[in-house]
Amino acid sequence: MKKLALVLASLMLAGSLTACGGSGAGKNGTLNLFTWEGMFPEEVLAEFEETTGIDINYVNFDYDETMLMKLQAAEGGDYDLVIADDYIIETAIAEGLVQPLDKAKIPSIGNVNPLYQGQFYDPTDAYTVPYGAGVQTIVYNPANVDAEIKGYADLWDAGLADSVGIISNYRVIGGMALKVLGKSYNTTETADITAAGEKLNELAPNIRLIKDDYIQDDLISGEIDAAVMYTSQVTMAKMTDPSLEIVYPEEGIGFGIMAMFVPSKAPNADAAHKFIEFILDPERGAKCYEYLGYYCTATASEEYIAEEYRGFLTLPAELDREDMEMIQNITPEADDAHIAAWNAFKGLCE
């Protein structure tokens, strides 16, 4: 126990040292950065502190919902820059917790990939700058799968009995069944959602596991042969086993965006703008995306992404981008239909 306490103490000490970023930092104020853990490489944060003299106070949240609650409690104050998922940003903007960006302070805004701009949560790009996108793909092990997988519908193949893994997100998985039926991810027709649920029930015999964390390990160890997983997991799987195949489903692609925004009463909005500009630097951005493992949302950074990562951190040029769709907030009734279908489906998986 004593040893453990010692280790913990030294870790905390190390943490506080990096937070200070050496001598001289903080003379130009502090940037309160509020996001998930592990969003930036340490060296990029240290470089920002060194070149700007602004101290970074990195505060973590685990779920988007927690972020929103804290931001509501702070009435848009306390934090200077937040990075979170698209759907929660829509709510935050609607509640007046976000301030418009001062584009004059972000000259590199043109580096952003227009594909990830003008989306539902911020149609005029007045409030946000994207930082990484999750693109729903299928990953499979060609050594264990006989047929070629081209789209979601192929996961229903009887040859994949008891060997498919999926993430535990009812909008992504329910949406997958909707796509197979030729519907939108965001349909609010409960009849369509129920039909998709019934379609999903037919997939139950193929499902070996449903989980959010470390699902890539099960693919690598051979516990499952094909999986629908989050982008960062796809990156890790592919880095460990390059023989795995990534499939952009032919039914259409769903994606989500993480974006940076400045809360309405940010104590140091100026530092937040400086940080956004700093990250939009093409070369530095590439370093961040390689570390993050999500799709690169800055066109200018793409060419700087190392060859080994580029294949799965940028979309293939030949991909039909018309067919891409974001998962958005839907009506409570539609959401309830999704949840009911999802739980019925899980009950059938054995």
Binding site: Y63, E65, L68, T91, D162, G165, S168, N169, Y170, I207, R208, L209, I210, K211, S221, G222, E223, P332, D335, D336, I339, A340, N343, A344, K346, G347, C349, E350
Partner: protein, 278 residues
């Protein structure tokens, strides 16, 4: 008790009493009130509704309750099967060995149960320890797909819950007066008869405590089903978590929690009542 002693006693329990009132009773009341409110976007409004309780009887969610009861029932039965003879046997051994078994049961608990469950993954996974052993012995030829199955979940439940049964039975069995069993045997009772008429009734309180200590947590241990069962066994705990964290339906999550508490309350009440009657 003198008045002074009484005052000292009151002072001693007061902090804990207040603590429970604020941090246990308070949230419970909040949860109960919340369960009658209406969901609204990411939050809720205080419009009174019974809809949340009505939703529980939706066949999908009701099936989840049955599934939870089933797993809790199977786990508790298995824990009785393994834990009772083990606790009884260990208590009847000479002190030295008895203490060894008791300590051995507790040592794994120095490590967080989540971490210990991850150990089972190493054993159960494809080409893991279990597969290697079975294949080396020539019992199986291909890797079993044992991880993420129902039996794997049950093994995990037994593993986590067994010590509660063992310790409850052990404590009672330790005080068992063996001369009573001898007397029964002397008076002509067979081994089985002596067990059923003397040993079992005398150790029954330990068994019942063990059942309560096993059954209540087993209704809520959804992380075992998610780690070893690949989330395919939907339990009431995971449903509550999902309603809270993903579906943003706090009132329904509260209603489910209230229903779960009532259910465990009823089961325990039945056991306690019989205990008093016995």
């Amino acid at each position: 008790m003198t008045r002074k002693n009484q005052r000292t006693a009151t002072l001693a329990v007061l902090p804990m009493y207040l603590f429970s009132l604020v941090f246990v009773a308070g949230p419970l009341v909040y949860m109960l009130v919340l369960s009658f409110m209406t969901r609204d976007g990411f939050g809720f409004t205080n419009a009174f509704t019974l809809e949340n309780y009505r939703s529980i009887f939706n066949e999908v969610y009701f099936a989840t309750f049955l599934e939870s009861l089933k797993l809790a029932g199977i786990s508790t039965a298995a824990v009785i099967l393994f834990g009772y003879p083990f606790g009884l046997g260990a208590a009847l051994l000479p002190d030295r060995y008895a203490h060894f078994f008791r300590t051995a049961q507790m040592i794994p608990y120095f490590v967080n149960s989540l971490l210990r469950l991850c150990g089972w993954i190493i054993i159960f996974r494809a080409n893991g320890l279990l597969d290697k052993a079975l294949m080396a012995l020539g019992i199986t030829e291909e890797p079993l797909k044992f991880l993420y199955t129902y039996p794997a979940v049950v093994v995990g439940m037994i593993y986590v819950l067994l010590p509660f049964m063992f310790l409850s039975v052990y404590q009672v069995a330790e005080k068992l007066d063996l001369t009573l069993v001898e007397a029964a045997r002397d008076l002509g009772a067979g081994k089985i008869r002596a067990f059923l008429t003397v040993t079992l009734p005398l150790t029954l309180p330990g068994l019942k405590t063990g059942i309560i200590l096993t059954f209540i947590p087993s209704m809520g241990l959804f992380f075992i089903a998610s780690i070893l069962g690949g989330n395919k066994v939907v339990l009431i705990g995971s449903l509550i978590e999902e309603q809270l964290m993903r579906a943003h339906n706090q009132p329904f999550a509260a209603a489910l929690s209230v229903a779960l508490m009532l259910l465990t309350g009823v089961v325990c009440g039945l056991l306690m009542k019989k205990k008093r009657g016995a």
